[in-house]
Amino acid sequence: MQRIIKHRQVVDDRWHLLPKDATLESVPNSDDVIIPLALWLEHGPALRGRDGGLGVWLDADEEPESIAGDLDRFQVIAVNFPAFTDGRGFSSARLLRERYGYKGEIRAIGDVLRDQLFFMRRCGFDAYAIRADRSPEDALASLDDFSEVYQTSVEQPLPLFRRRG
């Protein structure tokens, strides 16, 4: 079982991430699964009556807009970072939280390393599947790399200039 950072703690994770080319038949009935977006878009109705939990994952070029009407179906939305330096997922998470009001877990997957965590956290992520060859325990500290920020963000809706005493 993999271990991920969730709500600032390293925990065992029960979710199964299905690959991009997963078919409807490969989705187990009772396990908790995170399915690729394409599968949801094609077979959404068929996936509703399952016993297990349901999450969806967006690749970096897949748009939160495409699931904006279905958000209450998902306990988890994972956002993939194909490379550490690919910052599209930051925008995706912010849109999910700020524009579409998603309240469930937003999980960073892919090339996730500790030096992105502070930014991810501010964009609305609350779970991080740190790349398998790195320690999630070490990464925890980076959630707090900075003690102050200038901009508005998901967790701090007021920019510094509205808070400066």
């Binding site: 330096t85 930051f90 912010r94 030096d115 502070f118 102050e148 200038y150 200039f161 400066r164």
Partner: protein, 552 residues
């Protein structure tokens, strides 16, 4: 200038801690070179031909004497005793050790400086007019807006890993000395008919491999909405800019692919969701920031036109220097002075630690303790009393800053090129020097008048060759260093990109080529006509004919 409060200071100190740990992890093998790369780049640290190069942010070019002394000390303690003023108003060190960089950053933090986002694919240092706040043709002081943008862009959580680097410039004057139309975003502060302040917004300008002049997508953005609108532009770019090919990743490519009209619509649609949100600027914040840029304690003085003219008559050298290296000031009795970092035989923009200390000293004695770096790689004392000008000139001559060539052919913008840069096709500094040596007759140089000559060692265009009236680009011809010449570029308000003259030249031909180009201009100009106007009138052909004429 802007002075940090406890919040600003804390952010910079947190950064030092963060980078110290990142460097430690890299040196301990916990981060691979590939993983460390984006982290060090976002801190201005390139690995170069001989050593790392560290680029230090000088927000919109402003430096205090205290900061200058710190830079001098860093040049002494961690480098080979000199620093380099970049074409984006920053400062670069060419020889620091990687291991020392966290300590250098800690030193910088003690004087409210840093290297945050000075390279890498993020929002870079915002630049502006080097005469901001003192120019007579200024409508709006751009500096508070630059500072507001600096804070907004510093560790912006959503835009930490853009498709490519991103540069913003702000202009608030009639002349555009900030070259806003060749920036990813160019902002021109304007007033509407009701006298309210807003910004004209240009996007998608840039140099590099695909030089493009930007397109204006908003003619009047009310100031309150500046940050929300920037968020909207950056979000569209972050989501849809190309990431598959780094040469097509700048926002200019996206704007061109969509067309500026469609790009503007996308931004409008995004902005409709962000408008009036918490990022909407308040009067109180703008005033808080602007209070740092109010006029220094100017004395009530009169212009000294007559006594200066008398000194001119007695000292032709002073007259020449005054004609080129001073700039009219909005306050009677004051003048802005440009220290030329372009004497022949020095790499354009290089200053030694001793010179930095000396400049700090001059700033304290002559100009309220502040200087500005210009994108032309010179340093400016912006608030000098006219009555002190003669004494200052004497000091500048001794220090080697009084070469009377500001804006002239030998005031060359030049990238580090093959002497330092691993991406170079060709050297650029020796070309600058060969041209400076050829044009060493001051009378002739003055007669030629205003002209921008810009040199880049490769198509990345760090030396802005596309927008030089004369541009020189290093190219690789079967492994040999060659130079392509273009004419007619301009980064001024009517920005234009240079046209290529023709086949490239060998290094030893370059001084002759420039000589011939200048001859054509001198023969064909009408009275008082600057080079760029003559070029626009007569076109490129007469230049081509002369330069490529068979040698008899």
């Amino acid at each position: 200038m802007y002075v940090y409060d406890e919040y600003d200071q804390r952010i910079v100190e947190d950064r030092v801690k963060q980078f110290r740990d990142q460097t430690r992890r890299y040196l301990a093998g916990e981060l691979t070179g590939e993983e460390f790369r984006p982290l060090r780049l976002q801190n201005g640290l390139y690995i170069q031909r001989y050593a790392p190069m560290l680029r230090i942010a000088v927000p919109y070019g402003l430096l205090s004497s205290r900061q200058l002394r710190k830079l001098a000390q860093i040049a002494r303690d961690y480098d080979k005793g000199y620093a380099h003023i970049s074409t984006r108003q920053n400062v670069q060190f060419n020889w620091p050790e990687l291991e020392d960089v966290p300590e250098i950053l800690a030193e910088l933090a003690t004087v409210q400086m840093h290297a945050i986002q000075t390279s890498g694919n993020c929002i870079r240092n915002t630049t502006t007019d080097q005469f901001a706040g003192v120019a007579r043709d200024e409508l709006v002081d751009p500096r508070p807006w630059c500072e507001i943008i600096r804070q907004w862009s510093t560790f912006h959580p959503e835009f930490a890993h853009l498709p490519r680097k991103f540069k913003i410039a702000v202009n608030g004057a009639v002349s555009d000395r900030a070259a806003i139309e060749v920036h990813d975003i160019g902002l021109e502060a304007v007033k509407n008919e009701a006298g309210e302040l807003g910004f004209r917004v240009s996007v998608g300008g840039g140099l590099g491999r695909t030089p493009i002049v930007g397109s204006f997508i908003n003619e009047f953005l009310p100031w309150q909405h500046l940050l929300g609108y920037l968020d909207a532009i950056l979000r569209v770019y972050n989501r849809y800019g190309r990431r598959d090919n780094k040469y097509k990743a700048r926002i200019k490519i996206l704007v061109k692919a969509l067309t500026p009209e469609v790009f503007a619509e996308r931004v409008e649609a995004e902005w409709a969701n962000l408008k009036d949100g918490p990022s909407t600027l308040t009067e109180a914040e703008v005033q808080r920031v602007a209070a740092h840029f109010v006029d220094p304690a100017y004395k009530a003085l009169d212009d000294l036109d007559e006594s200066l003219a008398r000194l001119d008559a007695e000292h032709p050298g002073f007259a020449r220097w005054r004609a080129r290296n001073t700039f009219a000031h909005k306050k009677p009795g004051y003048v802005a002075v440009t220290l030329s970092l372009k004497p022949t035989g020095t790499a354009p923009g290089d200053v030694t630690d001793k010179q930095l200390d000396a400049i700090a000293d001059l700033a304290d004695r002559y100009s309220f303790g502040e200087v500005r770096n210009s994108h032309n790689q010179n340093i400016i004392l912006a608030d000098v009393e006219q009555g002190e000008l003669f004494a200052l000139w004497g000091e500048l001559r001794e220090l080697g800053f009084a070469t009377p060539n500001v804006g002239l052919l030998t005031d060359i913008i030049c990238c580090p090129g093959g002497d330092f840069c691993s991406l170079a096709n060709a050297k650029s500094i020796p070309i600058a020097e060969a041209i400076q040596r050829r044009f060493d007759n001051l009378d002739y140089l003055f007669d030629i008048g205003d002209i921008d000559l810009n040199i880049s060692g490769c198509m990345n265009a760090c030396g802005h060759h596309h927008v030089g009236h004369i541009g020189i680009l290093g190219v690789d011809k079967k492994g040999a260093e060659f130079y392509q010449v273009s004419l007619g570029g301009s980064s001024a308000r009517d920005a234009s990109l240079g046209q290529i003259l023709g086949p490239s030249f060998a290094q030893e031909q370059m001084a002759d080529v420039i000589d011939k180009i200048i001859q054509v201009y001198v023969e064909r100009r009408t009275e008082e006509e600057p080079f760029i106007d003559t070029f626009r009138r007569i076109g490129i052909d007469p230049f081509k004919e002369r330069v490529y004429a068979a040698n008899h």
